[in-house]
C-alpha cells in the first residue's frame, strides 16, 4: 500500500486516469448498445451484443477492483477471502441451474419438467 507522499501522488494520477477510462468504457457500452452501425451479429439485441456488453462491464469492474480497491497489491489472504465469494456464488448459480435443467435424466439440457417426454434417457 502506498504510504509515502510521492507514492500517493503517483497513485492519485493513476486514479484519475482509471476514472477517465471508466467514463470512456461507459460511453462505449452505450454506443455499442444504441448505435445501429455498431450492432454486431443480428439486428437488435442478440447473444453477441450481450457478450460484448458483459465483457466491457467485466473489464470496468476489474479496473475498479484492482486499482481503486487496491487489490493489485493486496495480501493473498484477501484474494482468498473475496474470491471465495465468487466460488460460492458460482455454486449458488449452478444449483439454481440444476433446478431447471436436468442433464442426468435428459439428453443435452432437457427442461427438467416431468411429463415433457423429449430427450428422455432414464
Amino acid at each position: 500500500m502506498a504510504d509515502s507522499p510521492e507514492a500517493l501522488q503517483k497513485s492519485l494520477r493513476l486514479y484519475k486516469l482509471i476514472g477517465g477510462v471508466l467514463f470512456v468504457g461507459t460511453v462505449v457500452t452505450v454506443m455499442v448498445a444504441t448505435i445501429p452501425w455498431l450492432d454486431f451479429g443480428d439486428h437488435g439485441f442478440d447473444a453477441i451484443d450481450m457478450i460484448i456488453g458483459l465483457l466491457i462491464a467485466t473489464v470496468k469492474a476489474t479496473l475498479v477492483a484492482a486499482i481503486f480497491m487496491h487489490l493489485n497489491h493486496e495480501k493473498r489472504l484477501i484474494y482468498w477471502l473475496f474470491g471465495f465469494g465468487f466460488v460460492a456464488a458460482f455454486f449458488l448459480v449452478a444449483l439454481i441451474a440444476l433446478a431447471k435443467w436436468d442433464p442426468i435424466h435428459y439428453n443435452g439440457f432437457g427442461n427438467g419438467i416431468p411429463g415433457s417426454e423429449k430427450n428422455v434417457r432414464w
Partner: protein, 556 residues
C-alpha cells in the same frame, strides 16, 4: 481499553483487522447480488412472455453511472488526503462523494416516480396498451382540445386524492357484510353515498343471537345499517364462536376418553378413525353464529369502487374485506387520456403457438378493429416496416420483434403528425421512424402538454397520442409500471431498490466520518484514514454492482 490492530497490522495476517472484515463482508455481498443477478438470468431465459428489452430510458441510468464513477474517484482522493494529513481536502472530496450519492438517489427517485405514474393494461387477446389515464373532472367542467385541466377542475375524493378514470360502477341491490372482516371506513362511505342518493340500507331479515346461555339479542328486519349494529352482531358472533368451539372440544375429549376406555391397550392412531364429535348430543348447547349479515339497498344505488378493491362479475361482486354485492355491473370503462404505446408481441407469441399468422391475428384484434385512430397508426407502421425490411434485407438482416409488433411513443408521435404517403424511415438508422425527443422527455417520458398541440395531417385533429376508452371486459390485467406488471419490472425494482439502499447506507457511513471525524483526526489520524479506506472499499463495491446493473437492466 484500546481496540487492537486498528492501525498496526497483525503479525499473522499482515493486515489491520477491519480490512479483513470488510473483504469478508464484500464476499457475502457478492453472494447477495450474485443471487439476484442469477435469478434475473434464469427468469429471462425461461420467460414465457416477450421480455421488455431496452424499454427504460437510457439517459438517467447513464448519468447515474457517471455520477457513481466520479464519486468512486473522489472517495479515493478523500482517503489519500487523509493519508497525507490534509484535513481540508478530505472534507472537500468527501462532501463531493456524498453529494454525488444524493444526485444518484434523486435521479433514481425521478425514474421510479415516472414509472409509477405510467399505466399499462393487457387485453384478453394479449394486446398490451400503455399510456396515461385521465383524471375525473368536476361535474360540468369542459376543456378545449389541448387544454390541460387546472388543479381546481379535477375532482377529489373524500381524502382529497385525485381519481383516475378507472372506476367500477356497480348498482347494488343487496349487500352482505362479513361480520368479522368488514372495513369500517368502507361501510361509512357506503352509508354516506346512500344518504346522498336518497337510498336506504336496511337489514334484510330478523336476526336473533344468543349473547350468553339464556340471554339473547335480536335485530329486526328493516333496521338501518350502522357501525354499532354491525359491532353488536360481531360481538355476539364472536361469543357464539368461542362457546361453540369449547362445546365441541369438550365433547371430543369425552369421546376420546370413552374410546380409550372401551379399547384398552390400543394406541391413538388405531382409534382415530372411529372417534367423532357426537353432533346430536351437542346440538342444543351450540349458539347460533352469524358470519355474514345481509342488507337490502332500496332503491338499488350505484356505488363506485377502485378495480383493486372489487372483484366483479356481471351480477355480483366481492370486495377485498369480504363484502358480497348483488346487483348489476354498469359500464365501467378504463379511459386512457393518452395512449403512448401499443404492443402486440405477446399476442403474436400466442398466435404462433396456435399456428395462426401473426399479421392476421393482429388485424383481427379488438384494439385495431374497434379503434380507427389506432388502425391508421398501425397501417402507417406497416409502410415504415416495409421500408426497414428492405433496408435491412440489403445487409442480410431482419427487423426485430419490437420493430414488427411494438409501436412506442416516439413512433406514435411521428405517425400522428405524418400522412401515410409521407411515412419514411431515416436512411442508415436501421430503426422505425421516431419523433425527436426533447431533453426533459428523456427523463420524464413524453411531454403530453407539448405533444397534445401537435397538428394532424388531416387538418382537423390535434394531439400526438390517441384517446382510448377500454370497456371493462377488455381489461384482463392492469397495472402501473410497477413490480406487479411483469417479472422484468419486479426484478428491476428489487435490484435497483436494494442497490439504492446500499448507496444510502454507504453514504451515511461516509457522512459520519465527514461530520464526526475531526476529533478522531486530531487524536489518531491513521485510524481515521483506515476507517475511511474501509468505507471507500464498500463504496467501490456499490459502484461495481451498478457497473453490471446498468447494462443488464437498461441496455440488454
Amino acid at each position: 481499553m484500546e481496540i487492537p490492530y486498528i492501525v498496526t497490522p497483525r503479525k499473522d495476517t499482515g493486515l489491520f483487522n477491519s480490512k479483513i472484515a470488510i473483504w469478508l463482508f464484500l464476499a457475502s455481498e457478492v453472494m447477495l447480488f450474485g443471487g439476484f443477478f442469477s435469478a434475473y438470468i434464469f427468469l429471462r431465459l425461461g420467460a414465457d412472455f416477450p421480455w421488455p428489452e431496452r424499454t427504460l430510458p437510457v439517459l438517467p441510468g447513464l448519468i447515474n453511472t457517471f455520477v457513481l464513477i466520479f464519486s468512486s474517484v473522489t472517495v479515493v482522493f478523500a482517503w489519500a488526503a487523509l493519508k497525507m494529513r490534509q484535513w481540508g481536502k478530505f472534507q472537500i472530496f468527501m462532501s463531493i462523494t456524498i453529494a454525488c450519492s444524493a444526485v444518484f438517489m434523486v435521479l433514481k427517485g425521478i425514474e421510479y416516480n415516472v414509472k409509477f405514474h405510467h399505466q399499462a393494461v393487457r387485453l384478453p387477446d394479449y394486446t398490451v396498451v400503455e399510456g396515461h389515464l385521465g383524471y375525473k373532472l368536476k361535474d360540468g367542467v369542459k376543456l378545449e382540445h389541448g387544454q390541460q385541466p387546472a388543479d381546481e377542475q379535477i375532482a377529489r375524493n373524500a381524502k382529497g386524492k385525485k381519481l383516475e378514470e378507472n372506476i367500477i360502477n356497480f348498482e347494488v341491490a343487496e349487500v352482505s357484510f362479513n361480520t368479522l372482516r368488514f372495513e369500517r371506513s368502507w361501510v361509512e362511505a357506503m352509508m354516506a353515498r346512500a344518504m346522498e342518493k336518497g337510498a336506504t340500507i336496511k337489514l334484510a331479515e330478523k336476526i336473533t343471537l344468543q349473547t350468553a346461555p339464556g340471554e339473547s339479542v335480536s335485530f329486526d328486519a328493516g333496521s338501518a345499517l350502522g357501525l354499532d349494529l354491525l359491532a353488536s352482531i360481531r360481538k355476539a358472533h364472536l361469543a357464539a364462536r368461542e362457546n361453540n368451539s369449547a362445546v365441541r372440544t369438550d365433547n371430543l375429549r369425552e369421546q376420546w376418553t370413552k374410546a380409550h376406555a372401551a379399547n384398552p391397550g390400543k394406541r391413538d392412531w388405531e382409534l382415530a378413525d372411529q372417534v367423532f364429535i357426537d353432533t346430536a348430543a351437542i346440538a342444543d348447547k351450540l349458539m347460533p353464529e352469524q358470519p355474514a349479515v345481509s342488507f337490502k339497498v332500496e332503491p338499488a344505488t350505484t356505488f363506485q369502487y377502485r378495480p383493486r378493491d372489487l372483484k366483479e362479475a356481471a351480477e355480483s361482486g366481492t370486495l377485498r374485506d369480504g363484502t358480497a354485492l348483488k346487483g348489476k355491473l354498469l359500464e365501467s370503462p378504463m379511459v386512457f387520456h393518452y395512449v403512448d404505446a401499443i404492443d402486440f408481441r405477446h399476442l403474436v407469441m400466442k398466435a404462433e403457438e396456435k399456428g395462426v399468422d401473426p399479421k392476421v391475428a393482429i388485424e383481427n384484434s379488438w384494439l385495431l378493429k374497434e379503434n380507427p385512430a389506432l388502425k391508421q397508426i398501425w397501417d402507417k407502421q406497416q409502410v415504415a416496416l416495409a421500408q426497414l425490411t428492405a433496408e435491412l434485407g440489403a445487409k442480410g438482416k431482419v427487423p426485430t420483434a419490437k420493430d414488427n409488433y411494438r409501436i412506442g411513443w416516439q413512433e406514435m408521435a411521428y405517425y400522428s403528425v405524418t400522412k401515410i404517403e409521407d411515412v419514411k424511415i431515416t436512411p442508415k438508422k436501421y430503426s422505425m421512424p421516431k419523433a425527436k425527443e426533447e431533453l426533459n422527455e428523456e427523463f420524464f417520458g413524453p411531454d403530453y402538454a407539448l405533444r397534445e398541440l401537435a397538428p394532424h395531417p388531416d387538418g382537423k385533429h390535434f394531439g400526438a397520442f390517441p384517446h382510448l376508452s377500454l370497456p371493462r371486459e377488455q381489461v384482463q390485467f392492469a397495472s402501473k409500471f410497477a413490480p406487479a406488471w411483469n417479472t422484468y419490472y419486479a426484478v428491476y425494482f428489487t435490484m435497483t431498490g436494494l442497490h439504492g439502499l446500499h448507496v444510502i447506507g454507504g453514504a451515511l457511513v461516509l457522512a459520519y466520518y465527514l461530520f464526526f471525524g475531526k476529533k478522531m483526526y486530531l487524536s489518531n489520524p491513521e485510524w481515521l484514514a483506515n476507517r475511511v479506506e474501509i468505507g471507500g472499499l464498500f463504496w467501490h463495491f456499490v459502484d461495481l454492482v451498478w457497473i453490471f446493473l446498468f447494462p443488464i437492466l437498461y441496455l440488454m
